[in-house]
């Protein structure tokens, strides 16, 4: 097994390779505005560092969000196209699951990322591997008040509730490890398709405005 995983649903542009045993290489750059420029070079870096060629990859995994859409699409489009040239499957894993997995927590918590517009993307977890229900987008003040929080959205809006040593971002090493674990267990992974949670901002226009008074 050789899993190539990457995530572009947060400001972190992150790629990693996992051979079923361990993370062979990981490359992460935090830059919210350059997902399109940074992703392929990150993939090239991890291939070089791991000393493998793309042809050896057996599955491509992208974080499927939720996350700001423009960046999110870069990862998913790259996964779909790359996998099709390699003749291997492209999978999507919820970005919040990677944040949760890396936390290593064994008690309930919320994974929270920044959704911009003063909102957060979040989901509730029983432990690092077990999500409870679908992800949502809400105002940070409307989050459940009990459990501890992990993720950059928590650091931004509720730093006092942050769990210790929890990651801010869905680092691809964690995403790849989670994918490898699920694949080894024979779990069905979802397709590399986006979780948007919001509709496009667009209004159906009324009658044309008069130009004469």
């Amino acid at each position: 097994m050789l899993v190539l995983a990457f995530d572009t649903a947060t400001p972190a542009v992150t790629a990693a390779l996992h051979d079923g045993e361990r993370v062979l290489a990981e490359s992460t750059t935090v830059d919210a505005r350059r997902h399109g420029e940074l992703l392929i070079p990150a993939v090239e870096i991890v291939l070089r560092e791991a000393g493998v060629v793309l042809r050896e990859v057996t599955a491509v995994v992208a974080g499927s969000g939720p996350g700001p859409y423009t960046g999110l699409r870069v990862g998913l489009m790259t996964a779909q196209a790359l996998a099709s040239t390699l003749g291997v499957p492209a999978y999507g894993i919820c970005t919040l699951d990677a944040v949760a997995y890396a936390s290593g927590l064994s008690e309930p918590f919320l994974a929270v990322t920044d959704a911009r517009r003063k909102e957060v993307f979040w989901a509730s977890y029983a432990d690092a591997r077990t999500r409870l229900g679908d992800p949502s987008v809400d105002r940070p003040q409307d989050l459940p008040t009990e459990p501890p929080l992990v993720g950059a959205g928590a650091r931004l809006y509720a730093p006092d509730r942050l769990a210790e040593n929890a990651p801010d971002y869905p680092f691809a090493g964690a995403l790849a490890a989670l994918a490898a674990e699920r694949l080894a267990a024979g779990d069905e992974l979802g397709p590399a398709r986006p979780i948007y949670l919001r509709r496009p901002d667009a209004k159906v226009p009324g009658a044309p405005k008069k130009v004469t008074a």
């Binding site: 399109g36 420029e37 392929i40 859409y69 489009m77 790359l82 040239t85 496009p200 226009p205």
Partner: protein
């Protein structure tokens, strides 16, 4: 024409607006041209909604690429290069195509060429009418652009001569269509209505007609049409849509063709190419032909399917870049929503 075996096999990807276009060429021979359009999803909004377009590109991309390969009877491994529109266009939409193109390039181990959307609209005509004369004048008219260009060599140098100072020509068609109660996109509907009307029924203004520049202005015309229609309605008179459509259309194509011929004369060039979505307009094609004939200018207009946005045009320009020995793009290539026309490739 049988393609030469040593001509490059190039797959082109176009996502600058609402069409997911994938084309495959060998040299200047078109092998496949597949387009998935999200235009119907935009129609109720009266214009292209960028986020809707970007979402549709992601959904459509890999199936459209597979369909293009199937139509051309080719496998991924046959391709020599990938070309992609790097700009100008809608930022989020461009980015989907650029991400796909980079992944195909990396996955297949073939070079990537990021190209200019407008230069690709010029290059596409070679798929139908053979190599471009060097130089030629190109007029590109679409919903996003109205430009006159001097093209010494489409793979290397494009020089802007003039462009719209406000609305693009196609944008004016869309806005007037709304005023007349016609659907989006307005171009084809106005063209159809206009065939039943008179282009001289209403004397609408021709912006920048005699200003001596090669620039255009269509905003005043659009407002003039709206005023005329409102005045009619206010006085309880019937608005004859075909006449208004024909008169508006005549004003647009009159200015366009007049300035295109002027550009040829000013630069001593005898070849004019008209491209972009508005070049599908039947009256523009007819009047351009008439005026070029009168002026001794050879006119080239690609068939309508190659005038609107498509992937074949990107592949065509990519093929020219390969043939010209231009260095490929780097894989950290950005999408540039305002890429200037002087940058043919990035």
């Amino acid at each position: 024409m049988i393609p030469m075996a040593d001509e490059p096999l190039v797959l082109g990807i176009e996502t600058s607006c609402d069409e997911t276009g994938v084309g495959i060429v060998r040299g200047h021979t078109l092998l496949a041209d597949t387009v998935a359009s999200s235009v119907e999803e935009h129609a109720r909004f009266g214009g292209v909604v960028p986020e809707v377009a970007s979402r549709a590109h992601l959904e459509a991309m890999t199936p459209t690429v597979e369909r293009a390969l199937e139509r051309a009877g080719l496998a991924f491994s046959d391709l020599d290069a990938i070309a992609v529109t790097a700009g100008p266009g809608l930022a989020g939409a461009l980015l989907v195509g650029v991400a796909a193109a980079k992944a195909y390039s990396l996955g297949l181990g073939v070079p990537l060429y990021g190209v200019n959307h407008l230069a690709a609209h010029v290059a596409v005509d070679q798929l139908e009418h053979g190599p471009l004369p060097k130089p030629c004048i190109a007029m590109l008219v679409s919903g996003g652009h109205s430009s006159l260009l001097l093209v010494p060599d489409v793979a290397k140098e494009v020089i802007p001569l003039g462009s719209t100072v406000d609305d693009a020509a196609g944008e004016a068609f869309d806005k007037v269509a709304r005023v007349l109660g016609l659907p989006f996109p307005g171009g084809p509907y106005i063209d159809r209505e206009a065939r039943q009307g008179s282009g001289t029924a209403v004397a609408f203004p021709r912006g920048k007609y005699d200003d001596g520049t090669l620039d255009f202005s269509f905003s005043g015309l659009k407002t003039a049409v709206a005023r005329w229609v409102e005045a009619r309605e206010a006085s309880g008179q019937r608005v004859h849509v075909p006449d208004v459509a024909a008169s508006f259309q005549e004003a647009v194509v009159d200015v366009l063709t007049r300035k295109a011929v002027a550009a040829c004369r000013r630069h001593g060039v005898d070849d004019l190419l008209v491209g972009g979505g508005v070049a599908a307009n039947s009256r523009l094609r007819a009047l351009a032909q008439e005026r070029c004939d009168a002026a001794g200018i050879r006119l080239r207009v690609p068939r309508p399917g190659l005038c609107t946005d498509n992937g074949a045009m990107v592949a065509a320009l990519g093929s020219d870049l390969v043939a010209a020995g231009i260095a490929p793009s780097h894989l950290d290539l950005p999408a540039d929503s305002s890429l200037p026309i002087t940058t043919v490739h990035v």
